[in-house]
């Protein structure tokens, strides 16, 4: 994917120079290993800031919500599906956007890699299919497939579903992927075990809301956890309140979540918050044959109905 | 160690509905432990945190005057969780109060000076406190001319109507009451917005004349240039700010403008001082 950079810069420079867009939203190189920073470029001279590698896991659709400018946006497969969702939900207009599509080969899991080393990671270098992790007196080489984010490893929509120009040729989509192995494992647990599993999962939560705020779907002006009249959820770190937040957030994302993994990547405590959203994603797939953000012509299942819906009231 | 978060218990003595929309009520509160009244020694312009057990606290300007003994008065607009709960309470109910909090109007500086009070809407509360304080026979000789410009949307939205009428009939205070508009044929005072009435009625600014402004942001925005035109320097324009607050003692961190905490270093600032602070209020 490293070769994409030249093309992204070239397209961005052209768009800005020709005045087709007011800005380009992309990524710039981070200051710590395995991190890039979402950034905006308005001046064609600054397109050299833009980068692309396997550390661009933040979903850039999140930066488009309610913007008024004309925007060029770098979008991998999942970002593009969230752009579609944004378009359906009127959070941005199609004619405001120039989508620079990035056929994606997956992002690397910074939590996973960090937890593999007791010593500090000083540098993570990426080659075409290899990830080299270096510290003061060590070096370890991984195949990229070994250290992909979990959502990327099971991704079946790596290519952008909507774009104006591509940064590279389309990649081959992964086939025969078992997307829901982990959800089934939890579904099979008896109730008590399931409860304990969720309690453990959330025990580290500090309610910073990084998961919610990294999510392009969570654009409510006032989130239900912030309502005071009525106050739906307590504000402390009481486990029931924490659970309520995560469960309800997942439900609010049902039928809209693209499993982009931005929530999980953003969590400073390394909580696998996708365990919740994925269950709803699976249900929507199994009940309604629905995958979010694949088409501009169809509304998400939970804001429409069909007489043959399994839960249609007869 | 004194716990600054612990409210004094008070009993609601009386509740008066002030305005025709019934959104403003004045609460008269009496300390349950008489000793607490002495500890709660305040100046006009200060505020308190009113506490309703189970609902929380809300910062409200003190509407009674230090010269009025035996009770405290607060006029409360029904807006959020706590103020709505307060509006549902009845005389005899128990609540709490923390304070007095914040600075006051600069009464030392105002000694021997002309004072022009400019107020709009329901922000007239600490101004009422100030007027009653200034008109107290002990204090009145310490001040020169007193002018009051007070406006509301309509006659029915004015606070403290009986007192306003009483002040109108006095000759040691110049009242300029105004409403944005009215179809009441008996309305005998001004019609027009506060900035306009200020331009017409306020005295010229000079070293000995101070304006105290308290009102909605839009009123403040348009009154400020009027005062400048009248010759008021920024040291002589005194304003009371509002901010979301919790602790009220400069600790919880939310009500800052630059390094100043509105709850502790304010809520009262001269325009000269505000000019040196970030415009973030």
């Amino acid at each position: 994917m490293l070769g994409y950079i030249t093309k992204i810069r070239e397209i961005s420079e052209r768009l800005l120079k020709e005045g087709k867009v007011d800005m380009v939203i992309g990524f710039r190189k981070g200051t710590v290993p395995m991190m890039n920073e979402p950034c905006v470029v308005k001046n064609p001279e600054n397109v050299k800031e833009l980068v692309w590698d396997s550390n661009c896991g933040i979903n850039l659709a999140n930066y488009l919500t309610d913007r008024k400018e004309k925007i060029g946006v770098v979008a991998k497969g999942c970002d593009s599906r969230n752009i579609v969702t944004h378009l359906i939900e009127n959070k941005i207009k199609r004619d405001q956007l120039f989508i620079i599509g990035v056929p994606c080969k997956g992002m690397i899991d910074r939590h996973k890699i960090t937890s593999m080393f007791a010593k500090e990671i000083k540098e993570v270098v990426e080659e075409e299919n290899r990830i080299i992790v270096r510290g003061d007196d060590y070096e370890k080489i991984f195949k990229k497939a070994e250290v992909l984010q979990e959502n990327c490893a099971i991704c079946i929509h790596r290519n952008p579903v909507i774009y104006d120009e591509l940064a590279a040729d389309l990649v081959e989509e992964q086939k025969d992927v078992d997307r829901y192995e982990d959800v089934r494992r939890i579904e099979a647990m008896p109730a008590e075990k399931k409860g304990n599993y969720f309690d453990n999962l959330l025990s580290a939560c500090i309610r910073c809301y990084a998961c919610r705020n990294a999510c392009p779907l969570c654009y409510c002006l006032t989130c239900f956890v912030d309502e005071s009249r009525p106050q739906w959820v307590g504000k402390s770190i009481n486990p029931t309140d924490i659970r309520t937040f995560h469960f309800l957030r997942a439900y609010h994302c049902a039928g809209r979540c693209t499993d982009c993994g931005a929530c999980e990547r953003a969590c400073p405590m390394g909580i696998k918050v996708r365990e919740f959203t994925k269950k709803l994603e699976k249900d929507c797939f199994e009940l309604y044959g629905w995958e979010a953000g694949m088409s501009l012509d169809e509304r998400p299942p939970l804001d429409t109905y069909r007489p043959d819906d399994p839960d249609f009231i007869k | 160690m004194v716990n600054p978060y612990l409210p004094y218990p008070v009993r609601i003595d009386e509740i008066i509905t002030e305005t025709e929309d019934k959104n403003l009520k004045t609460f008269r509160l009496v300390f349950i432990n008489p000793d607490d009244e002495e500890k709660f020694s305040y100046k006009a312009g200060q505020f308190a945190e009113l506490s309703v057990a189970g609902k929380g606290e809300v910062p409200i300007g003190i509407a009674s005057s230090p010269s009025e003994k035996g009770y405290l008065m607060f006029t409360i607009n029904k807006v959020g969780l706590v103020t709505t709960a307060l509006h549902c309470m009845k005389p005899g109910d128990i609540m709490g109060i923390r304070g007095p909090l914040g600075n006051s109007y600069p009464w030392d500086i105002l000694k021997g000076k002309n004072v022009v009070i400019i107020g709009g809407g329901f922000a007239f509360t600490t101004l009422r406190s100030s007027i009653v304080y200034m008109l107290d026979p002990v204090n009145r000789p310490n001040l020169k001319e007193i002018h009051v410009i007070y406006g509301a949307r309509s006659p029915g939205m004015l606070l403290y109507k009986d007192e306003l009428a009483a002040w109108e009939s006095r000759d040691d205070i110049n009242m300029h009451i105004t409403v944005d508009g009215t179809d009441d044929p008996n309305w005998k005072y001004n019609v027009g917005f506060v900035p306009t009435v200020t331009e017409q009625k306020a005295p010229q600014g000079n070293d000995d004349t101070y304006a105290i402004i308290c009102g909605p942001p839009i009123m403040i925005k348009f009154t400020q240039p009027v005062l400048e035109k009248l010759g008021y320097c920024h040291d002589n324009i005194i304003m009371s700010l509002e901010m979301r607050m919790k602790c009220g003692i400069g600790i919880c961190g939310r009500c800052n403008i630059g390094k100043e905490f509105v709850c502790k270093d304010g809520p009262i600032f001269t325009l000269a001082r505000l000019n040196e602070m970030p415009k973030e209020y």
């Binding site: 912030d226 | 978060y5 218990p9 057990a53 040196e276």
Partner: protein, 348 residues
């Protein structure tokens, strides 16, 4: 200067003894990372760590803390009247706190312990706690403590400083509180202060030399606050920010809180919870007006508070100890070092 030598062979046993007179807290590994926790019987602090994921501020200032309590039952005496909640004020000791995190408490103290008001919860917790530091022999790439007013062997804010010498620790006594703790544990093997001091000094210099990351703050004090506030770079600094509370919650020097009532049946509590200037609700007025309604305004508030307002208010350095947590944990890689340099060099 007094230094006591602690043989690692009797470390565990003496710590157990210490638990008779102190509630001990220390770093332990929980899942993938270290956090500070109460050390129960038989539990030892795990010193094999760079620094904890979350700062130890929650030991003195818990994320959720009950302040007052009340009853809404009208048949009860004193119903609807708030009263203080009992808190455990027995002695505590934090074993293995990093010097930067201990120094952070001193910065926070200026807020909670003032001439006018003392926050009784924070002050009591702080005063009853003994801080046993663990000198940082191997700082991280994101550590910039040496340019933020402290350092890997910094002593202010600590009562004792432990220096790991492979088979033993040197415990440098900094305060009488620290001395009392050594006595309670029975660590009394005095050592010749001169050579020990020399060894510690050498290690300190080595550790400081390992810190290659830095910020420059020399010009901040003389900058006009409103100029910095109106500087054009804030939009760009704030662009990536998603306004989560990560930076503020992991920061050892962030202290803002919210006060909330919670009721269960007829009994209720007034509690405080950490709050964050990153959240729009933090400053939202009842009227709907919000003086910090935009992402940029909130990001600017955080950096201006840490690097300028705090300096303006106390004239005693910045509100940051250089622990680097916000850099390591920010989901979108906003880096305080970059922002500080932008501020410090603005207008030059």
């Amino acid at each position: 200067m007094k230094v006591v030598k602690i043989d690692k062979r009797n470390w565990a046993g003496k710590l157990e003894k210490l638990k008779e007179s102190y509630r001990l807290f220390g770093p332990v590994k929980d899942n993938e990372f270290h956090i500070f926790e109460r050390l129960d019987k038989g539990e030892l602090p795990d010193f094999n760590y760079f620094n904890t994921r979350l700062s130890p501020k929650s030991i003195i200032y818990p994320q959720s803390e009950t302040m007052l309590e009340f009853s809404l039952d009208k048949s009860k005496e004193n119903h609807h009247i708030l009263k203080e909640t009992d808190t455990d004020c027995s002695p505590r000791a934090v074993i293995g706190i990093r010097p930067c995190d201990a120094a952070a408490f001193l910065l926070v103290k200026r807020n909670f312990d003032t001439a006018e008001h003392k926050d009784p919860y924070w002050v009591k917790a702080y005063e009853t706690t003994t801080f046993v530091g663990l000198a940082c022999n191997n700082p991280q790439a994101t550590c910039f403590c040496t340019s933020a007013g402290c350092g890997p062997f910094y002593e202010e804010g600590l009562d004792l400083l432990l220096v790991d010498m492979e088979d033993h620790y040197f415990a440098k006594i900094i305060t009488s509180k620290g001395e009392n703790l050594l006595e309670a544990a029975g660590w009394n093997t005095g050592t010749d202060a001169d050579p020990a001091g020399k060894q510690i000094k050498t290690m300190k210099q080595e550790a400081e030399a390992k810190i290659t990351s830095s910020i420059t703050t020399d010009k901040l004090k003389d900058k006009t606050t409103t100029d910095l506030f109106d500087a054009p770079f804030w939009e760009e600094v704030a662009f990536a920010c998603i306004n989560c509370g990560t930076c503020t919650y992991v920061c050892p020097t962030c202290w803002c809180f919210d006060i909330q009532d919670e009721v269960n049946g007829y009994s209720g509590i007034r509690m405080r919870n950490w709050d964050s200037c990153m959240f729009p609700l933090f400053t939202l007025h009842g009227s709907g007006h919000n003086p910090r309604s935009t992402n940029m305004q909130r990001v600017r508030q955080r950096f201006m508070h840490k690097l300028k307002y705090y300096m303006d208010k106390y004239d005693n350095g910045i509100q940051c100890v250089g622990c680097g947590r916000c850099i390591r944990l920010c989901p979108v890689n906003i880096d305080i070092r970059k922002v500080c340099d932008l501020m410090n060099s603005y207008g030059d």
